[in-house]
Symmetry: C2
């Protein structure tokens, strides 16, 4: 049974895609069969792995809206054990188009059921919104990772997100839990970073990952080469941070 | 007649709110009557100006969904000549709730018509999505500023955004134009920043503002004090950059 982990936060630019790509890649490098699902119409996880949108014949849009088997939308992405379900700009219309379906919140959950035994981990990247696409991610996931940028605005949306997770848990997905809050773009030289980390630790206690992802230019360069950080620059601080996160996730998910 | 400028980009975390707050504040400091409208359910423009959400009796939600006069939703925010129409979390439901209205794309445009003579500039902050809230911003605005972070992913969404602007221009708002593309969080030390600026200049030519907003910690600290940068740290590089942008905007809008 695959462990399905959604990466969500409606605040924009907090490191959702960067975390989704690099966590999936590290899990694959650690020998787990790992699938990354791009549920963001922007398709940054797709292009960040070098998959050219024009070459995509079956995307997550076809799976959610036309009921195409998700196994027909699996694309290799440069690492053994790792596959991607890509996103295309067609997905921009999905929030409205999903309204017509009786099972509008469960389209992703139902689609993933058919490949549950083929993967150890399914990591899902979300758009920066509390839309039906994000509700689908929350309904399909058993666990959630919340990336939080070490910035003032990042704190503000957390209450709203936690409330939305609570509501999905009580009405659509009783198994849903927060696996952890991940501090991203941490800059040890600024007071702001320290204050935000302290504030988040005060709210979430030990649900905050010990791993802090530091701000690192190599991490933001990697997607322009279509590679996860462990293939772009294995020796960088960004690679070390995501390898450490991966170990924390494996320990939390497999120690049960 | 107020000059209505929307700040939009569906990519998250590119500096929309930071630009909306600081451009409005600089316009007010330059003696223009300036209104900031927060159309993002996250409400970062509202909290970034120190307006406490619990103290808000009338917000943009009441204006858009209940037809309340927008003049009843004007809040002072620490600078003469500057007012804010705040956002509250109720706005998260607006995308779906707006579907029931025949004029669902024009709710903001119609609301702003009643205060057109009270302001010289109306600046509108948008959410990171191509949703009905953003369509309302595009329909209400005569001009658009597109903040683009100096990062790889920032390039990807531009084609989609320009296409959406073109569609709104032909179907809902023939006056709509791109006032300019603003490069944000520029870091002169990285190749990536230079490459992205070059790429954007190649696409947009002289529609790219000469002002580059450099990455500056003071800019990200200011919202935690509820102040625009010119009140938080007038001598900072961030303040100088937004003052320069303000001059470019005044020159472009008032030289006509
Ligand atoms: N630790 C880091 N250090 C430096 N840059 C980073 C780091 N993590 C992410 N970035 C860069 O910051 C930007 C925002 O990150 P990313 O796109 O992953 O966020 P997101 O939450 O997925 O954004 P969106 O809300 O638009 O989906 C990207 O350009 C990315 O390359
Ligand atoms: N020039 C800058 N230098 C340093 N930090 C900046 C700069 N501009 C913005 N920031 C910080 O980067 C983060 C993202 O900026 P901001 O929230 O304005 O982007 P946004 O596009 O409005 O995000 P969203 O898509 O969530 O609405 C914020 O924490 C902000 O304080
Ligand atoms: Mg993303
Ligand atoms: Mg914003």
């Amino acid at each position: 049974m695959a462990r399905i982990i959604g990466i969500t936060n409606q605040k924009g630019g907090v490191g959702k895609t960067t975390t989704a790509i690099n966590l999936t890649a590290c899990l694959a490098a650690a020998g787990r069969r790992a699938l990354l699902v791009d549920m963001d119409p922007q398709g940054n996880a797709t292009s960040g792995l070098g998959v050219v949108k024009a070459s995509i014949t079956t995307s997550i849009y076809d799976v959610l809206l036309d009921g195409v088997e998700i196994s027909r939308a699996l694309y290799p992405c440069g690492l053994d054990n790792m596959f991607l379900v890509p996103s295309t700009p067609q997905l921009f219309g999905a929030d409205i188009e999903l309204l017509e379906f009786a099972d509008k919140e469960r389209r992703l959950q139902n689609a993933l059921a058919s490949i549950d035994d083929r993967f150890d981990y399914v990591i899902i990247d979300s758009p920066p919104a509390l839309s039906f696409l994000t509700i689908n991610v929350l309904t399909a996931s058993r666990q959630i990772i919340i990336p939080v940028q070490c910035e003032y605005y990042a704190l503000e949306g957390l209450t709203q997100l936690v409330e939305t997770i609570r509501r999905v848990k009580s009405s659509l997905n009783p198994h849903l839990d927060i696996l952890g809050v991940l501090m991203t773009m941490h800059d040890g030289r600024t007071n702001l970073s320290h204050q935000v980390v302290e504030e988040v630790r005060r709210h979430f206690g030990d649900r905050v990952f010990r791993t802090l992802i530091g701000r690192s230019v190599r991490l933001s360069e990697a997607p322009s080469y279509g590679k996860p950080i462990i293939l772009y620059d294995f020796r960088s601080a960004g690679a070390a941070a995501y390898i450490q996160l991966c170990e924390e996730v494996i320990h939390a998910c497999e120690a049960e």
